[in-house]
Symmetry: C2
């Protein structure tokens, strides 16, 4: 099914009942017994590992949580470019996205109460290839940045409820 078909199919389903647009995602995480930082992740039928590099006490079998957060943003940008290029009819032949994030470990380790534990700044560099003019790609970028779910998560506050069972 093409992305245009997905957009039209979703439009029809959501027009029939707006509740069809409400989706829920669920992800399970377990510390691998006997390790300090190896986390097994399960999402639907998919599973993968998260770890830390040696300098952060891990065994470096996989990327670490903040790198996965940047990867969520970069991959969401790529896919949102694909959807919005289809929606706007902008021809696109290739996409590369590099995401860099700065973090001050004073926050995570609790060495300074004034330093936030998360990223102080994130930079997204997008490279598009295709036959359209620069103006059309700039307009595409504006629409993508307005509608990218993970960019919204980064840029704005999200309500999080947390419980200890």
């Amino acid at each position: 099914m093409s992305l245009t078909d997905v957009i039209e199919g979703t439009r029809t389903a959501v027009d029939a009942d707006p509740r069809n647009a409400a989706v829920q995602f669920s992800v399970a995480h377990t510390l691998t017994p006997g390790t300090a930082t190896v986390v097994e992740v399960n999402v639907r039928d998919h599973s993968f590992t998260v770890d830390e590099p040696a300098a952060l006490g891990g065994t470096d079998t996989a990327a670490n949580p903040v790198e996965f957060a940047l990867a969520a943003l970069g991959s969401c940008q790529v896919i949102t470019y694909q959807f919005w290029a289809a929606k706007l009819g902008v021809p696109l032949e290739g996409i590369k996205v590099v995401v860099d994030g700065d973090l001050d470990l004073h926050g995570f380790f609790g060495f300074s109460a004034n330093t936030r534990p998360g990223f102080s700044e994130v930079r997204v560099s997008v490279e598009l290839t295709g036959p359209a003019g620069a103006e059309r790609y700039e307009e595409l970028k504006r629409q993508v940045d307005e509608h990218c779910p993970v960019l919204d998560l980064f840029r704005n506050e999200t309500p999080v409820k947390s419980s200890l069972g």
Copy 2:
């Protein structure tokens, strides 16, 4: 190296020069040619795939970007529990974390200007096993939630700069 050693080693390095706490992470993403939604991700020596389920136009070879965002949060919670349990001397034998997120697709598809594209709400359920009393685990949770980098990313605004090259 134990997590306590990592904490002490980082403390020494950061006391010697606070700039030692400044770390940068970088992640590269490329759309796999000929696919609509398959993204190849490269982080240091690690690589993995991000895709969409069929209902969102993909081939479901992997979890999707918003699921990776939830996985970043859940795995960061697990590892921050490990570090802060070591730092506070709280005995901990097992950790499981489930993260659920609600999203309204009106935002992503641009069907409604009033709906944010990202999560409207995220819920984190933590299950700890170990011999300490409930009060110590509640205190541990307070410290974790104050120092978890990806929880900070979710709960607060992060400055993001974006450029089209």
